[in-house]
Amino acid sequence: MSTADVTSSTNDQKYEIAHLKLVPKRHIGRMIAAAIVLLILAAIVRAFSVGQIEWSYVRDFLFAPAILDGLKSTLIMTVAAMGLGIILGVVIAIMRVSGNPVLSSIAIGYVWIFRGAPALLQLMIWFNLALIFPTMGIPGLFEFRTVDIMTPFVAAMLGLGISQGAYTSEVVRSGLLSVDSGQYEAARAIGMTQFKMLRRIVLPQAMRVMVPPIGNEVIGMVKLTSLASVIQYSEILHNAQIIYFANTRVLELLLVACFWYLVVVTLLSIGQYYIERYFGRGSKSITASM
């Protein structure tokens, strides 16, 4: 009804519409889009079902011991590399904002190098370290052969963890910057040392800002561990490869690995929700209102 109608008309009847049924807006475009998406999905599903895939292999290998072992190794590597990454990230971020020129230069250099070189390349450098340093240790104190300690596990953990630390330090730094300067002052005013202030007051508040991107990085790390397959670390993709080299069922085993990655990522996303809720305590809106 236009404004003109309202002002020009004297007919009272046209205001008596309160009893009429309200029909929601029809989203024709949305319906068409949804229909197209469904069609495409159906086509993909059909392609896979008539394609040369033996679904019985997928089913049989889903819970094969080698696959489950690989899954376990993937999870262990995720925890180890991400743990190292978070520890390094916190330390580097604190060094960066410390105001000490030596420490902050080290932090800047660290991020520059380990964020700059591809993770795959760093992994391979660690794994092949024995080529340039046959032995390692402190002269006179202890010494060992590099090949003995640079196992695929250690090399992958160092390669992934150290490069992750460079990314995570930037997340932590933005978290530290998000905390109001009044919080630092109040903590100092009750006599906290620098360290206690960070641990009790600043980091817990920074966590609220840090958890979503760190959750993102953990999920990224789950998938990044597949890089370790190139240095013979027996994570899930590596084990799937070993199986398909033997039975040539390449796509079936890749789908098996894909399935498990999706399961893990789904569980992690659910965990992230609860962690966010914990660190959001005391803040007014926990979920952004949109």
């Binding site: 009044g182 005013a189 009750i190 006599g191 906290m192 305590r281 005391g282 803040s283």
Partner: protein, 256 residues
């Protein structure tokens, strides 16, 4: 120095680049005394308070709190800057209440008040909890102890902040415009708590624009302008018959 001088500041000077924020400011506060610092915006009142508990580093001059030199250690003819741990130790003796409250938002009112004694002074939790509850009751917040700061009004937050300072049992509490961020109807509840605290014998330095509070509660009033301590004296004298024409002008302007 006599025994019951709590704060003694001598020729405190603070520069921000070429700008002189504090120009040879001196002050002496005895135990149990309440000193109000008044003065126009930008005159250096906050900067001076922040020098007392080392949130700012002064460029020259010296401050003693409880007869202990603040921020430096004398060795022969040199003054050496103290380290982080010693600085933290000195700050424990001085409470501070901020204009913008600065409560810890991830802790409840009770946790805010307990944080210092438990984490910094390492006192037993049960003992601190009892004391914190008593103090929160004293500032009229018994029913809010498990509220987070975001669930409290400005006046309630500021009273928690005062309780947080009190629970450390400091020798001195500094207040930097504790009521200027509050809605007018919330000002009196905070001033009442401060009045009560003053009556209990706490030594206080209060930067404020509340001349009524200064008149009723302060022993000493100091007027600062452009980084200088223009006038300091007994509250009744400075507020009713100031010696400096600048002080008189300022007081007249605030009242109008």
């Amino acid at each position: 120095m006599t025994k019951d001088i709590i704060v003694k500041a001598v020729d405190v000077t603070k520069l921000y680049g070429p700008f002189t924020a504090l120009d040879k400011v001196s002050l002496e506060i005895a135990k149990g005394e309440v000193c109000c610092i008044i003065g126009p915006s930008g005159s250096g009142k906050s900067t001076f308070l922040r020098c007392i508990n080392q949130l700012e580093k002064m460029n020259s001059g010296a401050i003693w709190v409880n007869d202990e030199l603040v921020g430096y250690r004398r060795e022969g003819n040199n003054l050496h800057e103290i380290n982080d741990a010693d600085m933290a130790r000195q700050r424990r003796r001085v409470g501070m209440v901020f204009q913008r409250f600065n409560l810890f938002p991830h802790m409840t009112a009770l946790e805010n008040v307990m944080e210092g004694p438990v984490q910094v002074l390492k006192e037993p939790v049960a003992e601190v909890r009892k004391r914190a509850e008593d103090i929160l009751a004293r500032v009229g917040l018994s029913d809010k102890i498990s509220h987070y700061p975001s669930q409290l009004s400005g006046g309630q937050q500021q009273r928690v902040a005062i309780a947080r300072a009190m629970c450390m049992r400091p020798d001195l509490i500094l207040f930097d415009e504790p009521t200027s961020a509050l809605d007018p109807e919330l000002v009196s509840e905070v001033l009442d708590v401060m009045k009560d605290l003053a009556a209990s014998g706490m030594t206080m330095i209060v930067v404020t624009h509340e001349l009524g509070f200064a008149r009723n509660v302060a022993n000493t009033v100091a007027f600062m302008e452009a980084g200088k301590m223009v006038e300091i004296g007994p509250a009744s004298e400075v507020l009713t018959s100031p010696k400096s024409p600048r002080t008189a002008e300022f007081i007249k302007a605030v009242h109008s």
